[in-house]
Symmetry: C2
Subunit: 481 residues, 2 copies
C-alpha cells in the first residue's frame, strides 16, 4: 500500500455511491471482476462474510437446521414447474448450454434460487409426520442476470447467500419457523453488525411469488434509503402442492406439508460498510473486524528495543486472551502512515505505545469511530481492551440508532408523504387502505414504496393517507436499494 | 426409515461399486440428481464435509492462508491465456452462453479450476517483496464435463473442493509451501479420517499441466486400487510468467514470483466411506461422525420410566462433556431395529441401557467396527466414552494400516509386476528408469500406472524392472480410481 492508496477522496454525504465504491476497493474488501456485474472478494471482505456465517450457522444449528449441498444447475423443466405457482414467472437466469464440445439436450439454469431443485427431494425424503419438521439450509452462490450497474455486495450478478427451506406439518409450525428465522436475522444485525433494524411484513403485492407472507428486516442507509437486509417467507401449501410434499399423519392419512424459505446474502456486508464507514475509510464493529486491535509502536533509535519488546508483550497478552490482534512493527512506514492505513481498513481500536508508555507502564487507546484517546494502565490490559471494544460497539450502535429514530416520520396526506421523502428520505409512517393503487402515486413521484408493514394489526392512523378510505394497516414508505 | 431400507444387500468384496452406491444412499449421505453426473449432498454427507473443512481450514489459517471468493465464471479469453503454458489445453468445461434472454458477447466457462482468474488478480495485488508470500484459498464447487459413470463423491460433474493458490519470492519458499500443504493433507487423512496414506511425487509425465513438481497423497481402497486423495503443486515460474506475477525486491528490481497450487475435494468422503464401511453399512471415525454416540434404552412397561430417566442423564453428561450424542427413545421401533439403523448410519459407539444397567449403575458399550461389547461403570462415563472413541479410531486405523502394509509388494520384472497387480492389486514397488515408455506396457496389460515416486532420491532397485536399464527412481504401480 502506497501513500496515494490511503486517502478516501469521495464524500460520503455528497457522492455516497462513489464513496462506497472507493471504500470497498481501498479497504481491500473486493475488486471488480473483468466480466461486468461480478466482483472478486478479497480476504478482508471474505473474513466479514465468514464472521456472519459463523454466527448465523451456529444459530441455525442450535434450532434444528441441517446443512446440505444441492447442484448449482437446475434443468429448465424443473424451473418450469414453478409456473404452476407463479403466473408468468420468468427469471433472469444464466443458461448453460454446452458441456465440453457437446450441446446439452436440455439447457441448465445456473441456480437463481433453489426451491425447484430442493422441493422434489424433500417430497421424496418426507414420508411420515415423524420426518417433520425438515429444516435444510445451504451456503452457496446464486446468479441473477439483472442488467444494472454493479455495486459490490449490493448488486452483483453472482452473490453469496444462504437459503433455508423447511417443511412442517401445519400452518402454526411453519409460521413459527418463519418468525424464528426473522428473529435470528434481526439479532445478527443488532448484536453482530451494530445495526438497529425494523422488522415487519411486505405488503401483499410485494410478497415472494407464491408466498402467503413475506417478512423482512429493513435497515436504513445514510442516504435515507432502506435496504431489505434479509427475508423469511411462509409459503403456505403452494410449493408443497406443486411439488407433492406430503406426509402420512398418525392415522396414516395423506396430508400436504406447509413450507417456508428464508435467506440472507452478502448484501449484509454492503449495508454494514455503507452505514458505519466514514471519510477516513472502513469502520467495522469489533465482532467482525479481521483485526480487533492493532498496536502501533513509536520509537527512535534509542528506545526502539524497549518499545518493541513492550509492544510484543502486550500483543502476546491480547492474543492469549483470544483477541484478534495485529502488531505493526514495519520499519519502512512512520506512525502517521500506519494510523491512516489501519483507519482505512476499519480496525476498531488502536493501541499506541512509545517511550512514555513504557516508562509509565501504560498504553494509549484510540477508538476508531470517533478518535477518542484514553490512557490506560498496562496491568490488566486484556480486560481493559475488551471493555473498550464493547464501548466501540456501543458507540456504533448508538449512532445508528439515533439516525434511525430520527428518520421515522409520520404523514397524514399524499402531499406530506411526498414532501417528507423528498426533503429527508428515511421512513414515512402513514395510514394505508391496503390497496396497491395507493402506493403507485408515491412510487411515480418520488420512487418510494411501501417497504414494510408492522406486525401489529391495529393501524395507528384512522385513514389511508392517500385515498382517505379507512386505514387497514400502517405502511412504512421509503426509497430502497 | 422402514425395514426394507435397512439392510445392505450388495457385497463389499464381490460388487464393490454397487455396495458403495448402496451405502451412500441408504446411510443418507447423498442421492443422485436428475441430471446425470450430479448428486445431492444430504445433511449426513454434508456434515462429513464440514468436519473436513473445519480441520483443514484451521490448519490453513494457522499457516498464513487467507480465504477469498472469486467468480464462478471465467471468460473464455482468460482460459485461453493458459495455452501459453499448456500445449493443447482443452478443458472439458461447461459453457454459459445466455444471460436472461440475451446471448452473451463472450461465452463464460463455469470454473473447472481457478488459476486463470486468480492469477491476474494476484499480479495486480502483488507489488513488492513485502506482499509475499501471498496465500489465497477458496472453498467452492467446480465443474468438469467428463462423460463417465457417476460415482457419488468420486466422479461427479460438479464437485466441492478447496483450491489454494500462493505466490512466493523464490523457489525455496514455494517448494516449502508445496510440502507444507502436502503434509497437512496427509495429517488430515491420518489424524481425522483414520486413513494411512502414501506420499510422494507424480512421475514427470503425469504432473499437473505447467507444474515443475506435482506431489500426491495416495490411499488404498479395499478393491486394491489407489485413490489420488489430494495434490500439491510447485508451479515454478510458468504461471507467474504467463500472468505477469512480478514483484520489486529490496533493490527495486523486478522479479518473477514462484507459485504453487493445491487442492482437496469431496473425493475424500468417497475414499473414507469406501475404506472403512462394511456390509452393515457406513463406518465413520468418531472425529467426523455426526453422532459419535447413540444411546439405545431398552425397557418394558414397568421399567420404562426409570430406564428413560437413566438414559437421559447419561445423554446430558456426554453432551456437557462436548460429545455429539443422540438418544433414541422412539416408541415405535424396537431395540434391534435401532441397532441396525445406527449401524447403517455409521455411529461409532452405541450405549445400551436397560433395567440391569440401571440396577447395577452401569452401561453397555458396543464398538461399531467390530461389535465388541464392554460393560462399564456409570460413574465417570464421559471419560470412559472418550477413551472408547479413541479406541474405535485406533481400530479403524490399525485395520487400514494392516491392509496397506500387506498391499505393498516388490517386483523385479515386467512379468512380476503384471502378475502381482493381476493377482493382488495394491501397490507394486519396482525400479524404474524414468521413461514413460516403460509404464506403457503395464498400463496396456493391467490398466495400472505409476501413481507415486517416493521423495527419497536413491532408488532401492538397481535396474528398471521393465527395460533393464539403470533405475533412476523407485516407482509405485497401481490401478487407480
Amino acid at each position: 500500500m502506497s501513500e496515494q492508496d490511503l486517502g478516501i477522496t469521495e464524500s460520503k454525504s455528497h457522492a455516497t455511491g462513489d464513496w462506497y465504491a472507493e471504500v470497498v476497493q481501498k479497504a481491500e474488501l473486493a475488486d471488480y471482476a473483468p466480466m461486468g456485474g461480478f466482483i472478486v472478494t478479497r480476504p478482508r471482505g471474505y473474513a466479514i462474510w465468514e464472521g456472519i456465517q459463523d454466527h448465523l450457522d451456529a444459530e441455525f444449528k442450535a434450532t434444528g437446521v441441517q446443512n446440505t449441498y444441492f447442484p448449482m444447475f437446475i434443468p429448465e423443466s424443473f424451473l418450469e414447474r414453478e409456473k404452476d405457482i407463479v403466473e408468468g414467472f420468468d427469471p433472469e437466469v444464466a443458461w448453460t448450454t454446452h458441456g465440453g464440445h457437446e450441446e446439452l439436450d436440455e439447457r441448465l439454469a445456473v441456480r437463481p434460487t433453489s426451491e425447484s431443485i430442493i422441493a422434489p427431494f424433500m417430497a421424496d425424503w418426507i414420508r411420515s409426520h415423524r420426518d417433520l419438521p425438515m429444516r435444510l439450509n445451504q451456503w452457496c452462490s446464486v446468479v441473477r442476470w439483472e442488467a444494472t450497474e454493479t455495486k459490490p455486495f449490493f448488486r452483483t450478478k453472482e452473490f453469496l447467500w444462504q437459503e433455508g427451506h423447511t417443511a412442517h406439518r401445519d400452518e402454526q409450525s411453519a409460521r413459527e419457523e418463519t418468525m424464528t428465522r426473522l428473529d435470528q436475522y434481526e439479532r445478527l444485525y443488532e448484536d453482530v453488525l451494530a445495526m438497529p433494524a425494523l422488522t415487519g411484513r411486505k405488503p401483499d403485492h410485494d410478497k415472494f411469488p407464491g408466498a402467503e407472507m413475506t417478512t423482512t428486516v429493513e435497515t436504513l442507509m445514510p442516504d435515507g434509503k432502506s435496504v431489505q437486509a434479509a427475508t423469511s417467507h411462509y409459503l403456505g401449501t403452494s410449493f408443497a402442492e406443486a411439488f407433492d410434499i406430503t406426509y402420512a399423519d398418525e392415522d396414516e392419512d395423506d396430508c400436504v406439508a406447509h413450507t417456508t424459505s428464508w435467506g440472507l446474502s452478502w448484501r449484509a456486508i454492503g449495508a454494514l460498510v455503507m452505514l458505519h464507514s466514514d471519510e477516513q475509510g472502513l469502520v467495522l464493529p469489533p465482532t467482525l473486524a479481521p483485526e480487533q486491535v492493532v498496536i502501533v509502536p513509536i520509537w527512535d533509535a534509542d528506545s526502539k528495543e524497549h518499545v518493541l519488546e513492550y509492544a510484543d508483550e502486550i500483543a502476546a497478552d491480547l492474543d492469549s486472551a483470544g483477541l484478534r490482534v495485529g502488531l505493526d512493527d514495519r520499519d519502512n512506514r512512520n506512525p502517521g502512515f500506519k494510523y491512516n492505513e489501519w483507519e482505512l481498513k476499519g480496525v476498531p481500536l488502536r493501541i499506541e505505545v512509545g517511550p512514555n508508555e513504557v516508562e509509565e507502564e501504560s498504553a494509549t487507546l484510540v477508538h476508531r469511530p470517533d478518535g477518542e484517546q484514553i490512557s490506560v494502565e498496562r496491568a490488566g490490559i486484556s480486560d481493559t481492551v475488551d471493555d473498550h471494544l464493547d464501548e466501540v460497539y456501543a458507540k456504533l450502535y448508538a449512532a445508528a440508532e439515533q439516525t434511525l429514530d430520527g428518520a421515522i416520520r409520520e404523514a397524514d396526506s399524499r402531499e406530506e408523504i411526498l414532501g417528507t421523502i423528498g426533503q429527508h428520505g428515511g421512513y414515512v409512517e402513514a395510514g394505508w387502505c391496503g390497496d396497491e393503487a395507493c402506493e403507485a402515486p408515491i412510487k411515480d413521484a418520488v420512487a418510494a414504496e411501501i417497504v414494510m408493514v408492522p406486525f401489529e394489526d391495529d393501524p395507528i392512523h384512522e385513514e389511508c393517507a392517500i385515498c382517505g378510505e379507512p386505514a387497514a394497516r400502517t405502511a412504512y414508505f421509503a426509497r430502497t436499494y
